[in-house]
Symmetry: C2
Amino acid sequence: MDEQREPEDLTTRARIRDAAMLQFAKLGEKGATIRGIAKAAGVSPALVQHHFKNKAALREACDAHAIDAIRRVKEEALSGGMSNPNFLTIAMQTALPVQQYMARALVEDSDAARALFEDAVQFSEDILSRGSSGMRKPTTDDLHAYAAVITAMNFGLVVLNGHLSRALGTDILTPEGYPRLAMALMDIHTDNLITPELEEQTREVLRKMRGPDA
Amino acid sequence: MDEQREPEDLTTRARIRDAAMLQFAKLGEKGATIRGIAKAAGVSPALVQHHFKNKAALREACDAHAIDAIRRVKEEALSGGMSNPNFLTIAMQTALPVQQYMARALVEDSDAARALFEDAVQFSEDILSRGSSGMRKPTTDDLHAYAAVITAMNFGLVVLNGHLSRALGTDILTPEGYPRLAMALMDIHTDNLITPELEEQTREVLRKMRGPDA
DNA sequence: ACGTACAGTGTACAAACGTACAGGTTGCTG
DNA sequence: CAGCAACCTGTACGTTTGTACACTGTACGT
C-alpha cells in the first residue's frame, strides 16, 4: 500500500494517483478529467480505469493517500517533541502535492476534508492544553474555539498560499520565501495591536451579543 | 446597473446572476452548469444565454457584482471611521452569497480574485500604517508582509467558514455564532503564546535561513 | 509448452455539456 | 393598428465527459 518518495521509480498506479492529485488540486473535482489525468501520467485513459475502478474511487484513493501522508508527518512531529512553535510547519512539511490537494479538498468539502479538519482541531487542542517547551498555555475560556480558529487560520494560509506568495513576491513554500511569512506571523502573534481599552469594550459588546444578559 | 436587496422583486437578470453566484460558489467554475443555474433561477437555460452571452461572460458579471458589493462595504467602513478593530468584520458584513462566491473564486484563482486579494492587502496596509482609534501601529520591519499575512488569515476564515462553523457547532455568520469566533480571535491576538526566549531563538533561525549572513 | 493473471491500449457509446438558432409572447411607440 | 424591441422558450448540434468492452503483450507458475 506504500511506495517510495522518489518521483521516478514509482508504481504506475502511484504515478497515476499523483497525477490525479495534482489535477484535482489545480482544476477541482469536476474540472479534472480521466483523460487529463491519464495524459499527465503518460498513460492511456483506460489504464486509469483499470487501476482505479472509476473517478469516484480514484478520488477516494487520493483522499486516503493524502490523509496517510499527513498522519505520518503529524506522528513524526509528535515523536520529535514538537519543539517547533509553529503549527503551520506541520502543514508545510507535508509534500507539496498533498498540500495543494488538501487545500482544494477543504474547499470542496469532501468527507476526507472534514475528517482532516476535525483531526487538526483536535490535534491543536491537545498540543495547546498540554503545552510544550517554549510555549505558554493559552489564556482563554474557550480552548476549543481557540484551537479551531488557529487551525482555520493556518489552513487558510495554505489554501491561499498562491495569493500570499504573489503578494510577497516569492513563493512562501521555498526556503527564500518562508522566513518572510514566518517572521510576519511571529510579529502578528507577539505584538498587541489593539489597546486594552478597546479590547475590553469590544469583549463587552460581544458578551451582550452572545446572550441577553440576565 | 444596481438593484434592491430584496430577494423577491429583482430583475430576472439579477435573479439569474444571484443563482449563478451560488452555483459557482457551491460547485466551482466547472461544476456549475448553465442548465443548473437556469433551474435554480427558475428560468429556461436559453434565457441565461440571452442575458449573459456565454458562461465566461456570466462569470465576469458575477465577478463584477461581487467586487462592487465588496467595494461598497469597504467604503462604508471607511466613512464610518473604521471604529471596529477587526478587519474580519468587513468581510462578514458583505452579503452571504458574495462571501461564498469570493471564497471559491479565491481558490480557483480568477483575475477578479487576484484583484480582490491585492486590494485587500493594500487596504489592510493603509489601515495599519495610518492607525485608527484604539489601535496601535504594528511593530514590524515588514509591514507589507504583516498586512498580507493578516489578510490571508482573515480570508482564510471566510473560505473555511463551513469547517469552522462545524467545529464550533454553530454558524459563525449568525449573531449566535459570531461572538464565539470573535472572542477566540481576540484571545489569540492578545495573549503571547510563545515565550520571549523561544521567540528570539526562532527569529534567529529564520534570519539565518533567509540569507547567508556576512 | 501451456495457461493464467496482470499491465496496458483502442474503440465505442450514452449522457451531459455549451451554444447557436428559430420562434413565440408581451409591451411600448409611431 | 403596424412594427419593433425586449423577454423568454424549445430544439438541435458538435464536443467532451465517464465508462464499458474487447483486445494485445508479457511474465510466471505448473
